[in-house]
C-alpha cells in the first residue's frame, strides 16, 4: 500500500519537474521531439535508481550521526572517546553530503557510461550524449537529497532502519525518474503539436513551452487530493 502512495506521490502529486521545478534544463532543451525526450527520461531513470541505491548507504554509514557510523567504530578502536561522542551526536557534518554526493554521481555516471558502451551498443546509441549530460542535471542531486530529508523527517515512506530504507530509497529514485519520463513524454507531444500551430511571434520558442508547462502543472495540481483519498480509503 505504501508503494502505491509513493508512486502517486512522486509521479503525480509532487512531480519533480512540474511541482518542484527541478530538472527544467533538459525539460526545456531536450523535449522537442519524442525520441530524444524518451531517451533522456530513460537515462535519467537509470542514473537515479543507481544513484539513490549508492548514496543512501553512503549517507547512513559515513555521515549520519549515530552508532552505525563507520567513523564511530573507527574512533572507538583508535581510542578517542571525545571524537567518538562527537560522531555519535553530530555525524561527520551534514554539509559534507553535497561534496560526497556530487563526486559519487560524477563517478557513477562515468562508470555507467563505460559499462553500457561495452555491454550493449544499441542501448548506448539510444541514450547517446545524454548520459554524460545528466551529471549536471539538478534532478540527480535533488532526489538523493530528498531521500535523506525523508529519512531525517521520519515520514511514513521511510523508516530509519537500514535495509528497508535502502529499498525505499531505490524505489523512490526509480519512481522519480519515471515521473520525469512521463513529463518529458507529455511535453514532447505538446511541442510536436505546437510546431505546426500559429504561435504569436514573441512567444515562439521557449516562452510558449513555459506557458504549456504552466497549464500542465495546473492539471497535475488536480491530483493533490489523491493522497488524502488513498489514505482514507485504503488505510
Amino acid at each position: 500500500m505504501e508503494f502505491l502512495s509513493l508512486i502517486i506521490g512522486l509521479v503525480f502529486v509532487n512531480n519533480y519537474v512540474l511541482a518542484r521545478f527541478i530538472g527544467l534544463c533538459p525539460f526545456i532543451g531536450v523535449s522537442k521531439k519524442t525520441h530524444p525526450a524518451v531517451s533522456m527520461g530513460m537515462a535519467v531513470t537509470f542514473v537515479l535508481t543507481m544513484d539513490s541505491f549508492v548514496t543512501f548507504p553512503l549517507y547512513t554509514y559515513f555521515i549520519q550521526p549515530g552508532p552505525q557510523n563507520v567513523f564511530y567504530s573507527l574512533t572507538g578502536t583508535l581510542g578517542m572517546p571525545a571524537a567518538q561522542e562527537f560522531i555519535r551526536a553530530n555525524g561527520l557534518g551534514e554539509v559534507l553530503t553535497i561534496g560526497t554526493f556530487i563526486l559519487i554521481i560524477a563517478a557513477l555516471v562515468q562508470l555507467v557510461e563505460m559499462v553500457i558502451r561495452k555491454t550493449s551498443k544499441p542501448l548506448y546509441d539510444t541514450l547517446g550524449i545524454y548520459l554524460p549530460l545528466i551529471t549536471t542535471n539538478c534532478i540527480v542531486l535533488a532526489v538523493p537529497l530528498n531521500n535523506i530529508a525523508q529519512v531525517k523527517a521520519g515520514g511514513d515512506w521511510f523508516t530509519k532502519s537500514f535495509p528497508e530504507g535502502l529499498l525505499w530509497a531505490t524505489v523512490s529514485g526509480f519512481v522519480a525518474g519515471m515521473g520525469f519520463l512521463l513529463v518529458m513524454l507529455l511535453m514532447s507531444g505538446v511541442r510536436e503539436r505546437l510546431a505546426v500551430v500559429k504561435v504569436p511571434k514573441p512567444f515562439q520558442g521557449v516562452p510558449i513551452v513555459f506557458i504549456s508547462a504552466s497549464l500542465m502543472a495546473l492539471a497535475f495540481f488536480g491530483f493533490a487530493g489523491m493522497m488524502g483519498g488513498l489514505k482514507a480509503n485504503f488505510g
Partner: protein, 233 residues
C-alpha cells in the same frame, strides 16, 4: 576598462537567466517572495565569484580531460561554504524556505558554464569581474520574477504588505488569489511571459534598426531611372 566591460556584460548582454537560459530550476522554485529570491541570488553570486576566482588561479594546472570534474569539485566546496554561512547568518525562515536549493547551486548551470566559458581562459581580475556581473544580472532577474510573483500572489514586496488586505491568499482578503497561481503554475507563466516580453522588445528594437537603415540608404529605384532618363531623351 576590461573590468567594467566584463562586469556590464553579465548584466544585460549575457544575462544568465534571460539570455543564456541557465539556472532555471532555482529561479522558479525560490522566487516565491523577494526576500527568498534575493538571498538565493546572493548565495549563487558568492559561489560564482569565488569559483571563478579559484578556477582562474589554477587554470594552467588542470589537465584538459578532467576539467569538468575539477570545476565541479571547486564549485561544490564553495557551495558547502555558502551553506554553512547561510545556516549561521541568514534568517531561519529563509533558510527553511530555500531548503535543498542551496546544495543544488552545485548543479546550477551558471557557475559551471561561466567556469568553462570564461574563468578557465582569463586572468583573475577579469574572472572576478565576470562573476560579479553575471551574479548581479542573475540577482536582477530573480528579483524581477519574485517581485511579480509576490505582488500578484500576496500583494506585498519584501514581505512589506502593500495591497495584501485587498488581494492575497489570506482568506480575509477582498480578492483571494488562489495559491495555485501564486505558487505553482503561476511561476511557469510568469517566466514564460517575461521571456516573451524580452523577445518582443528585442524584435521591436531590431525592427526599428532595420527601418532606420532602410530610411537612411538611397532607394535602388532612383539610381537606374535617373541614369536611364538622359539616355532616352
Amino acid at each position: 576598462m576590461e573590468f567594467l566591460r566584463q562586469f556590464r556584460n553579465g548584466l544585460f548582454k549575457e544575462n544568465a537567466l534571460f539570455v543564456l537560459v541557465l539556472g532555471l530550476c532555482a529561479s522558479l522554485a525560490t522566487t516565491t517572495s523577494v526576500k527568498n529570491g534575493f538571498f538565493m541570488a546572493l548565495a549563487t553570486t558568492f559561489v560564482i565569484v569565488c569559483s571563478n576566482a579559484m578556477i582562474s588561479l589554477i587554470r594552467y594546472y588542470i589537465p584538459n580531460g578532467v576539467r569538468i570534474p575539477c570545476f565541479i569539485i571547486v564549485i561544490a566546496s564553495f557551495v558547502m561554504i555558502v551553506e554553512l554561512l547561510m545556516n549561521a547568518y541568514a534568517p531561519q525562515k529563509i533558510v527553511q524556505a530555500l531548503g535543498i536549493f542551496i546544495p543544488l547551486i552545485v548543479v546550477n548551470c551558471v557557475p559551471l558554464a561561466r567556469a568553462e566559458v570564461y574563468a578557465a581562459k582569463n586572468n583573475l581580475i577579469n574572472s572576478i569581474a565576470d562573476g560579479l556581473g553575471i551574479g548581479a544580472g542573475y540577482t536582477m532577474a530573480l528579483v524581477l520574477i519574485s517581485a511579480i510573483r509576490e505582488f500578484l500572489g500576496n500583494g506585498s514586496f519584501w514581505e512589506i504588505p502593500i495591497t495584501t488586505a485587498i488581494s492575497s491568499t489570506d482568506i480575509n482578503a477582498l480578492i483571494k488569489t488562489p495559491a495555485v497561481i501564486a505558487i505553482g503554475p503561476g511561476a511557469f507563466m510568469t517566466l514564460g511571459s517575461l521571456f516573451a516580453f524580452f523577445k518582443w522588445r528585442k524584435m521591436r528594437k531590431e525592427r526599428k534598426i532595420a527601418e532606420a537603415l532602410l530610411a537612411a540608404t538611397v532607394p535602388w529605384e532612383v539610381g537606374p531611372e535617373k541614369k536611364a532618363a538622359p539616355a532616352t531623351t
